[in-house]
Amino acid sequence: MIEMKKNVVQFWSLLSMICLGLVLLFSCSDDATGPDDETACKFDGPRLEIPDTAFDFGFVPQYSKISHTFTLRSIGCDTLLIDKVLPG
């Protein structure tokens, strides 16, 4: 009888530990500051990203002035300084 009680206690102890382990595992996987976090910077120093680097105006009349706006994004850990834009 005593032996049976010991087994029951051991069973419940084991089950409790497994549950605790599972809780810890799932709570860690939702951690927003983990190494795979997309909101953390991945590049040392300043780094520029231009999502779309080309634009085609197609047909344009002579003697006209037209414009297009490009998006520039900073993806480095340090502040990006845009010094100048040289006409190409």
């Binding site: 197609g58 297009h68 998006t71 993806i75 502040t79 834009v85």
Partner: protein, 164 residues
């Protein structure tokens, strides 16, 4: 450019202005953006392409008139709307998509299909906040043909006041 210093995750907008002058045919420009990056691949170019034409009636498969949108203010009453036409000079129906236009300055209304040989009417109307502004912008439309023909129309506004 709105900002020249960007922290991680910040964005800015860089407006490239292209003056077609007396160029003709295919023109490509590659402005260089100089930054404080030190990595070997830190040279950043953007590229713009245009096909500059002299004869406004020579484009195909559509002809847009007027070929420059001038919505300037010459006095009273307030001028805030411009009408235009798009003629399909091909033998097939065409579908159009608006690639971009200055949505912060105006609203654009136009059908997206033009029957073969037909003409459609469209208009741009300035927003209330744009009426007091001068600007030089443009509108780009694309035809859903095999080569994805694009057409860019300059849109300008000057405000002229009567001399005393």
């Amino acid at each position: 450019m709105e900002k020249d210093q960007l922290a991680f995750g910040e964005e800015t907008r860089l407006e490239i202005i292209f003056a077609a002058k007396s160029y003709s045919n295919q023109v490509t420009r590659r402005p260089l953006i100089v930054t404080n990056e030190t990595s070997p691949d830190s040279l950043h170019h953007v590229r713009i392409n245009a096909f500059v034409y002299a004869d406004p009636d020579s484009t195909d498969p559509i002809v847009i008139t007027p070929y420059r949108f001038n919505i300037s203010q010459y006095g009273e009453p307030v001028r805030d709307q411009l009408f235009f036409q798009i003629k399909n000079v091909s033998t097939e129906d065409v579908e159009l998509t608006v690639v971009e236009y200055p949505t912060d300055l105006m609203t654009l209304t136009m059908p997206t299909a033009v029957p073969a040989g037909g003409t459609i009417d469209g208009d741009i109307k300035l927003t209330a906040s744009a009426i007091g502004l001068e600007f030089e912008k443009s509108m780009t439309v694309e035809v859903k043909d095999p080569v994805r023909s694009r057409f860019t129309i300059p849109i300008m506004r000057r405000i002229y006041t009567a001399s005393p």
